[in-house]
Symmetry: C2
Subunit: 383 residues, 2 copies
């Protein structure tokens, strides 16, 4: 199996950009990644595009604008995990030996979410019965699910909602130093506590914004990495994907799948949590950062809230999480989110993150979950 | 690079099945493929699902019904080429050495097409300008495009519409022997000529039906194929994917991309058209079968219509095309179409096709095109 390196990363801004088409955002991100890699569009041998419900073949439309070079273009819709899945398929294409240079691009428009539910289920159909049942349980909206999860942790560990609010404050502070982030204006604990309630106990800043954006990463074989003279070389040490497993028991949560996927990744990389310098996590809701921090072995179970309060998950803390602002403030346009995480991690490992640089960053873990409880984890390393 | 073999194939019926959910159709096809391979669901190590605009992660929903085994599930929407793309990614996953057993499933519901255009483009946006221009040219509907293409061939080669109608008659005859086909009632040349006009000169039977359905294929490494004792062994000799290339000039058609992709596939397989026993082709419109027959080197340019008239593309002819009825009669629910082609080809190469068996079939070519002019070609071989 060929080892894979990240040759270049690029982003278009995340935010509410109604006048920008998905295609133009995607082209901007790819151009930035090409420039970063010192490559030109005709060097790309295969392309994967991750997008959520953006209509017909959004990646193919992006490739047409970049030039008709005849390469394969595969469009992936794995919901929140679309960008991470596209990155993983690009790595697989290089590992297969078929190509030396593969592009992953993610693109998102808030418009896409209008189609999120697909056609309404027919009354009496299986899908109708399933969604009716979930709605009755308050389990249809992610806000409802993660509000319950927050209450559960408060019950189990005696934690306070202020501690979860501190995740939102911290990630906004990180985002204030990231010009590509969607929400950059610093906020205080009071701001979070006094904001509009969405689903008790979660106010608006406990929930990530949706929006528009694009990001891209180019991965290459070892041979090509040598030719390009990449230094420092950022290598992909683990690329792992799991869906929920009945092994995890009948009460399994995303954190259980996260724990299993992280274990796979540590094994693949020959590393443990102690070797990781920074983490990008699926912090769509504040409680998730706390849950996954524990699930991935960075802090003991039930202590995540105290770690947040003590600043351990901030830049300068024991294990910085969401250094670019995370889903909560960098934003979550779905398709590109996982690739924005790769962008951030790659730049951190190269020491290019300016005011939000994690000093001495050697390895970064990148985590995403998606609809259906799937989980994707990558580990990147500076060589 | 590990060589890849097809271990099992399965289908759910194609047709108008409003009471069947996409998930239940997908599960039926996967169960059939597992049974065909002599494998159980927990043997599957990774899964790719091809579907057109079916809402959130249709493959993940199928996997949940089959059992929570924790495997990666990647959802691909490459329009008409979704199933073929899923098959190709499954082959790549095996080639990468990461897995020995990969599943590709395709699923389609005519409902999905209601979302086909995505959110309506905003007036003034790039997308709005593009589609407005195409509509003005009559180039928005595929019926319009292929009606023009048919007229062009009639002008260039002096062919008659009756010759194209004979493709529809032939493929319906093949479908009448395929219990999974959507349209099985034989039709005469008069039936086709006198049917309702859709876009001059194309009447309804010149155009494929949309509908519901599912199909699946399981691919394995050589090592796993030996363990399973597959005999005869159906191997994947070529897996090629191209998008349009500016090399083909400014008047490039799907047939030009087809010609390039077929050349790639012949080179990869070390074969030529003379080694191919049967072909499954993207015959969404009758003219396509004629165009692609020439583009892939099976008959000289401008002679396709005469080959059809002489019965050369029928079972028993020089090079049988669309032996299961093709898109025109087996049906085209988009997601599963490319995998139905793999199902047909695999069974033909094993000599299991009963009344529609191509005698002495040794190698089969499988061809699909999709939105954006992409083309996917596989060559399967009996060993």
């Amino acid at each position: 199996m060929t080892r894979v390196a990240v040759a270049g990363v690029g982003m278009a801004p995340f935010g509410r950009l109604p006048e920008r088409s998905a295609t133009s955002l995607g082209v901007e991100a790819v151009d930035a990644a090409l420039q970063d890699a010192g490559l030109a569009w005709p060097d790309i041998q295969t392309m994967y595009c991750g997008a959520l419900l953006l209509g017909l073949t959004p990646g193919t439309r992006i490739s047409e604008k970049l030039g008709l070079t005849g390469i394969p273009v595969v469009n992936i819709d794995n919901a929140s995990a679309s960008g991470s899945s596209a990155f993983r398929e690009a790595c697989l294409a290089v590992e297969s030996g078929r190509v030396d240079v593969a592009l992953a691009v993610g693109v998102g428009k808030a418009d896409g979410l209008r189609n999120a539910a697909g056609p309404p289920p027919r009354p009496g159909s299986d899908q109708h019965k399933e969604t009716q049942f979930l709605r009755m349980q308050g389990l249809f909206s992610p806000m409802g699910i993660f509000a319950m999860r927050t209450h559960r942790r408060m019950h189990d560990y005696g934690s306070r909602i202020e501690q979860f609010a501190m995740v939102a404050v911290k990630n906004r502070e990180h985002a204030s130093k990231n010009p590509y982030a969607q929400l950059r204006k610093p906020q205080t604990l009071d701001d979070v506590m006094n904001a509009r309630m969405v689903s008790d106990p979660l106010t608006v800043p406990h929930c990530c914004p949706i929006g528009d954006g694009a990001s891209a990463a180019i991965v290459v074989s070892e041979k090509k990495a040598r030719q390009l003279g990449l230094a420092p070389l950022v290598s992909v040490e683990a690329s792992c994907f799991r869906s929920p497993s009945s092994d995890a028991g009948t009460t399994a949560q995303d954190s259980d799948t996260t724990a299993q996927t992280a274990r796979d990744a540590y094994e693949q990389a020959g590393m443990g949590p102690e070797d990781i310098s920074l983490v990008q996590v699926h912090d769509a809701f504040t409680v998730e950062e706390v849950d996954y921090c524990e699930a991935m072995g960075f802090c003991p179970e039930g202590e995540g809230e105290r770690w947040v309060e003590a600043g351990e998950l901030g830049i300068g803390g024991r294990i910085p999480f969401s250094t670019d602002g995370g889903l909560l403030s960098r934003g979550h346009p779905n398709g590109p989110t996982g690739l924005a995480q790769i962008w951030e991690t790659t730049q951190q490992l190269r020491g290019q993150s300016g005011p939000r640089q994690v000093e001495g960053a050697r390895a970064g873990l990148v985590h995403m979950v998606g609809v259906g409880g799937v989980c994707v984890v990558h580990i990147l390393k500076r060589n």
